[in-house]
Amino acid sequence: MNEYSRKILKVPTYTLLREQDKDKLPVLDVRNLGIDFGGLTAVDSFNITIGPTEISGLIGPNGAGKTTIFNLLTSVYQPTRGSILINGIDTKGMTTHKVNKLGIARTFQNIRLFTDMSALDNVKVGLHNEIKCPFICSMLHLPPYQRAEAAATRRAMELLDFMGLADVADQKAGSLPYGVQRRLEIVRALATSPSIILLDEPAAGMNPSETTELMHQIRRIRDIFHIAIFLIEHDMNLVMNVCEAIAVVNYGRIIAKGTPEEIRQDPAVIEAYLGREEEKA
């Protein structure tokens, strides 16, 4: 942590939810973020601050730039403008795996599991940096390796059990039903011990009962792991019920921020989703 300590911000900026996490350093602080692809400005002037135990949502019409924002936050793309601070540390120029070590984990809109591996192994890949064992030990399978591996298996099973996936631990990830794959991705992300987890359309392709279960699980993740959750979702039922704060983007810019009630009544949001009412002549 030392090499980054000088970059840590002393004063936390306001979070989406001002009451909660008031005196704590925000887990994610994005300032004036923007990216251009050639001449196209995909994201511009994006500001958001998320407290350490917040569940917040990012919504917007298709093509608004939501997934691009997630890709920026996880350094899949490098931003053209602005800065991203995770736990107070600027991620400028960092690679995806380094950003993950800082405490940001994610799932993907189009599921990206390691399809040929078992569900358990998928989670163990997530535990990779938690398994402390020198290369030579794992190359020769020395006793420290065996101990670390056994501990990793236990931890992975605990995490799978947490999301109700312990039964499918031995099955190939690619052969699992769609909804189960989505939850397995969440478990894999949780395995990296993040301080914020980004969920990209976690309920896509789920039926209503699965979605209800997912809402409970999202709350449980926050309550038990004490981490922040930032999610993109089109299912308004889930967003309005689970999220404590919501940001709405359109054409790569934030058009509204606030609690679910505020968002529901915001004229700009209604316009973005439903279009403008024709003015009567």
């Binding site: 899949v76 795996h97 890949v125 794992s138 894999r188």
Partner: protein
């Protein structure tokens, strides 16, 4: 015990080890009963060498999915380093086995270090570009070794890249003399050591595949973006696999070098790299036992067909094509399946007839 055997991976690994041990015992038994002629005995060490090379290349090509065409380069580095070390330590170390071991380890280490140095620029590339650069590297290594002079006299160890710069004292001896290669090499290599090398290679590669590193490597191959998103440093993993692979190839090269009384650098050319790659591809990408078997069969095949002279390479090519058809072409598989069904059908009918009687 049941728990260990219950795991599919552990079971296949065990089978791999057992096959190699059984083959070793069988060959040793044949040898002690004088069933092998001298040319067959001559195959034994190279077979072990090529198995190790194929298995180590499989780690890179099959498991990591990185196409490398410079494996013979690492083999060459190991071979010449091994030859030099064996010659230098001749008076210092009495035991031939210890000397061979030291030569192999040094050969492996030097190849591993070279792998690391080359890996720094090369591993920024992917796919075809990586293949091209590794190919070039193999050729560069071949040419550097082919122009190096190494010698020893009373003053000690000399090394240069031209004869004019070599100033060997009286009684001095060349170990490697440029394009002429290494001459007067002591044949230290033994089949038992070859077996040990194969077992060591298998042990390292199989353990790596079944460890957290192996999981990470497979994850990177399966889905690079997802692997990075869970904190896996992709470049570091490619590097580790590259260095381990180079190290094992260097060890195999050292054993190879100490198996012949003379050797030139041209042995470690593009053809040898491709040959090793053929062993890997035909044995199955990522299939370690497959590499062991295909390396053995495909090494012995052209040697055994030497009596056919020019036709042997044609037959070798035909065998390669047939194996590819068998393993890859779905149409061919269908045709074979249909034919075998017909044959079994015939037998079944016969049985029924017999039953009716």
């Amino acid at each position: 015990m049941k728990k260990i055997l219950g795991n599919k991976n552990t079971r296949t690994n065990l089978v791999t080890y057992l096959v190699v041990i059984a083959a070793f015992v069988l060959v040793k038994a044949c040898n002690s009963l004088d069933m092998l002629n001298s040319s067959q005995k001559g195959y034994l060490v190279p077979i072990c060498v090529y198995i190790s090379l194929a298995v180590s290349l499989n780690l890179l090509v099959g498991v990591c999915g990185e196409l490398s065409l410079g494996h013979a380069g690492f083999m060459g580095i190991g071979a010449f380093a091994g030859v030099v070390i064996a010659a230098v330590l001749k008076d210092a170390v009495a035991s031939d086995t210890v000397r061979l071991l030291l030569a192999m380890i040094t050969g492996g280490l030097i190849a591993g270090v070279m792998g690391f140095l080359i890996g720094i620029p090369v591993l920024r590339l992917r796919g075809d570009y990586l293949a091209i650069v590794t190919l070039a590297f193999g050729e560069i290594m071949k040419n550097i070794i082919g122009n190096t002079y190494v010698g020893m006299d009373e003053e000690g160890f000399h090394m240069a890249i031209s004869t004019s710069k070599m100033k060997l004292g009286e009684g001095g001896k060349y170990i490697i003399s440029g394009p002429l290669g290494a001459t007067g090499v002591e044949k230290l290599a033994t089949f038992t050591m070859g077996f040990v090398l194969v077992m060591f290679t298998l042990f390292v590669v199989l353990n790596l595949i079944n460890s957290k590193e192996g999981r990470a490597i497979k994850a990177v191959r399966d889905n690079r973006i997802a692997a990075e998103s869970v904190g896996i440093n992709v470049t570091a993993f490619r590097m580790k696999a590259f260095v381990v692979s180079a190290f094992l190839a260097g060890m195999a090269g050292a054993l190879f070098g100490l198996n012949y009384s003379s050797m030139t650098a041209s042995k470690f050319n593009f053809n040898t790299s491709i040959n090793i790659l053929v062993f890997v591809v035909l044995g199955g990408m990522g299939n370690i036992l497959g590499s062991v078997i295909s390396a053995t069969v495909l090494y012995v095949l052209p040697e055994a067909m030497r009596s056919l002279e020019d036709f042997r390479m044609i037959l070798y090519a035909v065998v390669l094509i047939l194996v590819m058809l068998f393993t890859w072409s779905p149409k061919f598989k269908e045709a074979v399946g249909a034919a075998s069904e017909k044959i079994t059908g015939l037998f079944k009918k016969k049985k029924e007839v017999v039953g009716n009687e």
